[in-house]
């Protein structure tokens, strides 16, 4: 205990007297101005490395823009940006032996809105930075979806040529997956997990900041591909070889963007793992961790193990193109299907990366809003681990029609079907938690229940797709599009909305507007179903996915789908309005509006810069609702005593 007091004392002193600041000029100070010129500088360095090599080798033309954009624009300039904005400052000082500013956390906390645009090492600030950034890319990705739904409203070609259409579809999926769903969960967890563990911050706050700042690089790269000659990458988010190595230059923006998003993802996951393993408050055993923490623990394991595979697959596809290697081309001994095996070895676990944190969020909300302990806590945690293990043995179910070895189909089908078991355990346990509870039907709970029902539909269509004969008929049709949107929108996005509403009072200290929240839910729920449910039918009766033009018989339903998709887009405007106005002038929320037991609700809203004046002592399970006198944690000094009655 004394050591924590010391630590706390140190923080306090350091924060009160931030070490002697060597005031640097505007150009040299970390921030956007330095980022601007260092990015430009690095771009020119990268460019002249390419030009010099080409000149020495005597290759013509010396100024070959594709290679310059690849090396200078997608590697050197982003490193320059990260350097300029200030993510490396501390490490560079330390490496070069210059006096580092003592760890005073001068970059902790956000006191005005402009602080969110600076490098910040506070997990709560980074969490909000993640959420706002990913929401921006959600809007961009949604806008692209509106564009191609406009094209699909009628058969025939109206607005775009087929290459542009393919580009819109591909960029939509890529933005949504890599710079919205995956990092939005990282943002929510960034905010909540250290607080839930009773830790003052993540284990590596500077690495945490670096992880965040790599993310916009990926998003900008995906979006910027529309400016490339030949248009955006147009091979779907799956980007199958060998098509991907023959497409116009926009494809490279995907290959490299994925590297930045993946690096960000891996760094964050390592950070979560170390934080969860080493920084739990005294008494916080693994079996007392909230299920959100369990979910992020398993997700982080998935990320760390799987993500290097997609990085490799994208590098190899790019090498096939720029260096004329033959990793995935049929000539010179390449292995075309190898791409799909490596890609799905990441991208199937990625499906769980995009849903397990959502499971965690829903477990928190359903327990708190039903005023009951979560049903079967240990089995809930074990089923997460079950999904983690099984998740690595099912990747080839994406390849039932791909022409892989025949014998692989049946084992992959069985393991895929078996994943329904731990997933079913979770669904049934949530339902049992509801039973006989005291159900508060507010916005987070509506989204939680909406999630359970939509995810069940997505899970059941997943049963059809796991059965190989049905999958052979349904794969690459709109049935797949329907299925992935039921699990990724009805699943993941609903949980993200639920989580944002749930922790909004903790993040901002203010309460969102309940009426607008409910309106948002119902509009989303109805528009979502009208948009995606008909896709099951058009797919099964014969409409393939990723086509700009289709048979006239599907015209009427596609018009309905397009109109509903615009309504779905409009529902996001209600959410944005609610969040922005409530953030600015919503009613003060109090520290624990939900009367929740987990530790983040036992401190003020928003929490103090270092979360706790004194490290909490954990004394029981996180969901002991209805147990007389039960407590999850004891806080002293600055903790709010009235928090739990």
């Amino acid at each position: 205990m004394t050591s924590t007091v010391d630590e706390h004392g140190q923080h306090e002193t350091a924060y009160g007297h931030p070490g002697p600041p060597r005031r640097r000029g505007l150009l040299m100070r970390p921030g956007w101005i330095r980022a601007l010129w260092v990015t430009a500088l690095f771009f020119f360095i990268g460019m002249y490395i390419v030009v010099t090599i080409r000149w020495i080798a005597g290759w013509d033309p010396v100024y070959e823009w594709e290679y310059i954009v690849l090396v200078a624009g997608m590697v050197a300039a982003p490193i320059g940006f990260l350097t300029g904005i200030g993510t490396f400052d501390y490490w560079l000082y330390w490496i070069s032996g210059r006096p580092t500013v003592p760890d005073d956390h001068a970059n902790h906390g956000a006191y005005k809105w402009t602080d969110y645009f600076k490098v910040n090492t506070d997990h709560k600030v980074i969490g909000i930075q993640y959420l706002v950034t990913t929401f921006f890319f959600f809007l961009v990705g949604g806008f692209l979806a509106m564009l191609f739904r406009a094209e699909l409203a009628q058969p025939g070609m109206q607005f775009f040529d087929t290459q542009t259409f393919n580009g819109l579809v591909s960029a939509h999926a890529t933005l949504m997956i890599f710079v919205f769903v995956i990092p939005a969960f990282a943002g929510l967890a960034n905010f909540a997990v250290p607080l839930m563990l009773g830790a003052p911050d993540m284990a590596f706050p500077r690495l945490n900041a670096l992880s965040f700042w790599m993310l916009p690089i990926a998003g900008v790269m995906f979006a910027a591909s529309f400016l490339a000659p030949g248009g955006a990458f147009a091979t779907g988010w799956t980007s199958y070889a060998p098509l991907a190595s023959e497409q116009p230059f926009g494809q490279v923006f995907f290959n490299m963007g994925v590297q930045w998003a993946g690096a960000s993802s891996i760094a964050t996951a390592l950070n979560f793992l170390v934080t969860i393993i080493t920084m739990r408050a005294p008494g916080m055993t693994f079996w007392r961790m909230p299920l959100l923490v369990w979910a992020n623990f398993t997700t982080s394991l998935l990320v760390v193990i799987a993500t290097p595979f997609i990085a490799g697959s994208q590098f190899f596809v790019m090498f096939d193109r720029v260096m004329h290697t033959s990793f995935f081309t049929p000539d010179n001994g390449g292995y075309v299907l190898g791409y799909q095996h490596i890609f799905w070895f990441y991208s199937h676990p990625a499906v769980y990366i995009m849903i397990l944190p959502g499971f965690g969020i829903i477990s928190e909300i359903i327990s708190v809003m039903s005023r009951k302990p979560i049903f079967g806590y240990r089995l809930m945690a074990i089923s997460l681990l079950g999904i983690l293990v099984l998740g690595f043995s099912v990747w080839a179910h994406h390849m039932f029609v791909a022409g892989m070895a025949d014998w692989l189909r049946v084992p992959m089908m069985i393991s895929t079907l078996l994943i329904a078991v731990p997933t079913g355990v979770k669904v049934f346990s949530w339902l049992a938690t509801l039973w006989e509870g005291k159900i508060h039907l507010n916005t987070p709970m509506l989204f939680a229940l909406g999630f359970v029902s939509m995810f069940v539909i997505g899970g059941l269509s997943g049963i059809y797709l796991a059965a190989v004969p049905i999958d052979i008929h349904a794969s690459d049709t709109y049935f797949i599009v329907a299925h992935i949107h039921y699990v990724l929108f009805g699943g993941s996005v609903f949980t993200i909305f639920a989580g944002i509403y749930y922790w909004f009072p903790k993040m901002t200290g203010r309460m969102y507007n309940e009426r607008l929240g409910k309106l948002h839910f119902w509009l989303t729920f109805v528009a979502f179903n009208v948009t995606f449910f008909p896709m099951h039918w058009v797919g099964l009766v014969g409409m393939p996915r990723r086509v700009a033009d289709y048979a006239g018989t599907f015209g009427a339903l596609n018009m309905v789908v397009s109109i509903a998709s615009f309504a779905l887009g409009a529902s996001v405007a209600i959410f944005a309005y609610n969040i922005i106005t409530s953030w600015v002038r919503g009613p003060v929320a109090g520290s624990n509006p939900w009367r929740a037991m987990t530790i983040e609700w036992q401190v003020s809203s928003p929490p103090p810069v270092f979360n706790f004046d004194e490290i909490p002592q954990v004394v029981g399970g996180p969901y002991e609702y209805g147990v007389p006198g039960a407590k999850h944690a004891v806080l002293r000094g600055g903790a709010l005593q009235e928090a739990h009655v």
Binding site: M157, T162, Q163, N166, A234, T235, Y240, P242, L243, E246, P248, P330, G334, V336, S370, R371, P373, F375, Y377, L379, V401, A402, G403, D406, V410, M413, L418, A420, V421, G424, V425, V427, L431, A432, L434, W435, E436, I439, H440, N442, S453, A466, A467, V468, P469, I470, I472, H473, S475, D476, T477, W537, L540, V541, G542, R545, R546, A551, G626, V645
Partner: protein, 345 residues
């Protein structure tokens, strides 16, 4: 007691949900009218899974609806529910029962899968050649066609190859689907059960012209099929004989135009195509002038090395660059004659 009443109501809600789900499943034709034995078996697996899924769906809906109905409280209610932490019997049940159900689906699927891969003792073999963005079907005896013609009630074994990227063969009414992977020969079996016209669709994104990569399919009675095959093979013999003689070049060209799938992307009036992916071939003379080449040389270069000159407002790198290797010399010569408009009549 609230508990028993709630369970009874829940069973009623479950029955209603199951009824609605069953009506949705039965009243809407979710699958196309089957036209193959393989699709018949797929349809069987589909209904097997559907029955199980309706049960699970109804259960989940009933619990959610009934829980919200019976246990909802006002926002100012600050009491807690009963501290139930779990129930071992229930937890074992909802682990074991779903496991049994999904394994049953798995066993049925595995049996159907092996039956659907069995071509029987007397299959007809058709070689499929898929390239951006056209299909070609090769029959025994050297017959080539851009329309897929199959006899009814006989298993057809497809052997498929692609020179460029991955494509995928699917005829919705016949269920079976298989990617065509360059550098490998992929196999699939289809046994048509009724005559008629269908459409073959490429279902793997293969580039710019993916959504136009379709082919007509015809299923005939065996005698009609034999007659068709014979006619095709005699037509081929005739044109091969006349290929060297002047006027025949255009005939070879016309056939090649169809079999190589040029019409998938290009409009060309003499061939009756109107696609808009690539430049119209009705303006070849003007384009050749712009490129500064004599017309036959320009046509030949544009087929073999399409990126050498690209008509303004079209994109480079779209047309396959493999035609120089895949077309036979006489086919290439024929195309040049056909496209330059000489002897088209």
């Amino acid at each position: 007691m609230i508990r028993r009443a709630a369970v009874v109501k829940m069973v009623v809600v479950a029955a209603i949900a199951a009824l609605i789900a069953t009506l949705v499943a039965v009243l809407i034709d979710w699958l196309p009218d089957s036209a193959s034995e393989e699709m018949d078996r797929i349809t069987f697996v589909y209904w097997f899974a559907t029955i199980i899924c309706i049960g699970i769906f109804a259960l989940v809906v009933a619990v959610i609806v009934e829980a919200v109905w019976a246990f909802r409280v006002q926002p100012d209610d600050d009491t807690d529910g009963p501290p139930i932490h779990g129930h071992t019997g229930l937890e074992v049940a909802w682990t074991v029962v779903p496991a049994i159900l999904v394994i049953a689906i798995g066993v049925v699927s595995a049996v159907v899968l092996s039956k659907n891969a069995d071509a029987g003792s007397n299959p007809l073999t058709i070689k499929v050649f898929a390239q951006q963005f056209a299909w070609r079907f090769d029959y025994a005896g050297g017959v080539q066609s851009d329309e897929l013609v199959m006899p009814v009630h006989r298993s057809v074994r497809f052997e498929m190859d692609s020179p460029d990227v991955i494509h995928s063969l699917w005829i919705p009414e016949m269920g079976q689907k298989q990617d065509v992977v360059p550098g490998t020969v992929q196999k699939i079996v289809i046994t048509p059960t009724r005559t008629g016209r269908f459409r073959l669709i490429c279902t793997e994104l293969c580039g710019l012209g993916h959504s136009t990569m379709r082919a007509p399919v015809r299923v005939l009675e065996q005698p009609a099929f034999d007659k068709w095959l014979e006619k095709q093979s005699s037509a081929r013999g005739g044109s091969a004989g006349g290929g060297s003689a002047g006027g025949g070049g255009a005939q070879v060209g016309k056939k090649t135009f169809a079999s190589a799938g040029c019409g998938g992307c290009h409009a060309f009036e003499p061939a009756g195509t109107d696609a808009e992916i690539g430049p119209s071939l009705d303006n070849l003379a003007a384009d050749a002038e712009k490129a500064g080449k004599p017309l036959p040389d320009y046509i030949r270069e544009s087929i073999v090395n399409p990126n050498a000159y690209v008509v303004p407002s079209y994109k480079s790198g779209v047309m396959p660059t493999t035609f120089g290797e895949t077309l036979k010399p006489e086919e290439l010569d024929g195309l040049v004659v056909f496209l330059s408009g000489k002897g088209a009549e």
